[in-house]
Symmetry: C2
Subunit: 319 residues, 2 copies
């Protein structure tokens, strides 16, 4: 990769050039030296994009649904970004997600940007790589950004924290209605999509889900997640899904919920950057003669001091 | 739960009283006010236990294998602690893991302590709850502690960071040999167990795994993970598994690897406690008039400043 001036890169990203966007996302992934400068330059140009998270167990059809949504949004004339985040991939440099075969017919479309990302970050969850990449696509003028994550548990919660709207996908015959209730995804879903709705048991799954959703107590004016049935492989029900997304978007505006979510997202991003900086400081304390982490860990490992006392001494080196 | 003096609780834990151990683990889970004092009091009594991590995909027979190992270790006269950690459970207060039916016949045995834990911790992974609980069981005199975790990816890496020996369980016919290689579990396994070895494809899975293992370059004297075949439900192959664990234990001693692993574990624990304290400080800066996280997040959310500048200002409030 040839060197490129941050100012030039910024200008090209703001111009929506695909190659510049790809390079900026790489900078985010690798936490390169010019990342800070790029983020500062892009910041004033963010806030315009709508971020939609899609999550669900393996096999429910996330990539197919994402691809169908991309087609539908393109027909509206929107520019669409897609980030496929793999939270279970600590080793691979690239991510395993993002069914490239399905996405292939969008790859040649200059109005679509597709990127797979591994979720790194010692701080857990999506870390700052995903919010930063969202920032890049946002500044590059993509009207809608779809973030696809496979996951159970924490990954789903994290995606909900970064999206304006979270779609939880399910498929019939996986006992997903009850599973969803157990796993707590009911709390994070703004829209449910029962995909593969042409299969046996689809009606039962949708009914079960609606029942679970209806049992959650809600204040007046609070959003109740609709349950949409789709057959994404045949692009069936995608207009219904899009309508549900738009309805939620309107709700976000009217209720003030969008601001609340974006504030929470910004808070997490700032916190993650600050914590990352602090972790680095803790690893190499600046004051000479002060106890360092390696030495304190040695004392804890040999049962000479307890971990809390060690943590206190470590924190003293910061002040 | 009646109040109990920390000194009394410490004495009872050190005496190996099951109810006191259970109470101490609850204190760990809930991060109660006396946690610090308890950890300090227990610290000098730790370091004696051997920690064995067991991990693998759902359905490979982790609980059955854990239960069979407990039986085998009990026959040797060892006291055994079992922690079943569920890393995918951010919502439920209790953990979903730990097949209580299989474990039930150990429950009445005073030489066995069994506990399911949800993995919390905003810092990701097993956080400090698991290392703290290990510390409690260690001080309580359990010779071997088995930590069972379901997981792909990060959870497996985390368990490896906390165990002296990590067992990766697989079952035939799940394409697990290649899967394991892809998912990077080869890097963390000290011992492989192909469970359900009476099923079709078990030989192929074991052979495939041995091939994958043999292809990893190793320095002279470096450990090469053995592949053991088991039918845990019938307690077959458990003695072979135990022999492999003992062999690895000897290797840990001779190579100095045990000290390295325990140092890394202590380092993570101290770091997690320090980071947790810092996160709390960042949420409530002490200096009056200083920018706080909520205010800075507001400025980032409205695109007035970038997240790095916000993080810098936040960090200024610490110093």
């Amino acid at each position: 990769m040839r060197a490129i001036e941050p100012a030039t890169l910024t200008a090209r990203v703001l111009g929506g050039e695909s190659r510049a966007v790809a390079r900026a996302v790489s900078l985010v992934e690798n936490a390169g030296g010019q990342l800070r400068e790029l983020m500062a330059a892009l910041a004033p140009h963010t806030g315009g994009a709508r971020v939609i998270g899609l999550t669900g167990s393996p096999g429910v059809g996330k990539s197919t649904s994402t691809s169908a949504l991309v087609s539908a949004l393109r027909r509206r004339g929107e520019r669409v970004g897609v980030l496929a985040v793999d939270p279970s991939s600590p080793f691979t440099g690239g991510a395993l997600l993002g069914d490239r075969v399905r996405m292939q017919h969008h790859a040649a479309d200059p109005g679509v940007f597709i990127r797979s990302m591994a979720s790194r970050g010692h701080l857990g969850g999506l870390s700052w790589a995903t919010p930063h990449a969202l920032r890049v696509l946002d500044a590059a003028g993509f009207e809608t950004i779809l973030v696809e994550t496979v996951g159970v548990g924490q990954a789903e919660v994290d995606i909900a924290a970064h999206a304006d709207t979270t779609v939880v996908l399910l498929a019939p015959g996986m006992g997903d209605g009850v599973q969803a209730a157990k796993a707590g995804v009911v709390e994070i879903a703004d829209v449910f999509a029962v995909n593969k709705a042409d299969r046996e048991g689809a009606h039962a799954t949708a009914r079960e889900l609606r029942q679970v959703v209806s049992q959650v107590p809600r204040a007046p004016g609070q959003w109740r997640p609709p349950v949409v049935s789709t057959v994404a492989a045949h692009e069936q029900g995608i207009d219904d899904l899009l309508a549900a997304l738009d309805e939620h978007d309107t709700h976000l505006t009217i209720s003030g919920e969008r601001e609340r979510r974006r504030l929470a997202r910004a808070r997490e991003e700032v916190e993650a950057i600050a914590m990352s900086a602090l972790r680095e400081r803790l690893a190499r304390p600046l004051r000479p003669g002060a106890a360092d982490l390696a030495e304190l860990a040695q004392q804890v490992a040999t049962a000479r001091i307890d971990p809390y006392t060690a943590a206190d001494r470590l924190l003293d080196t910061l002040g």
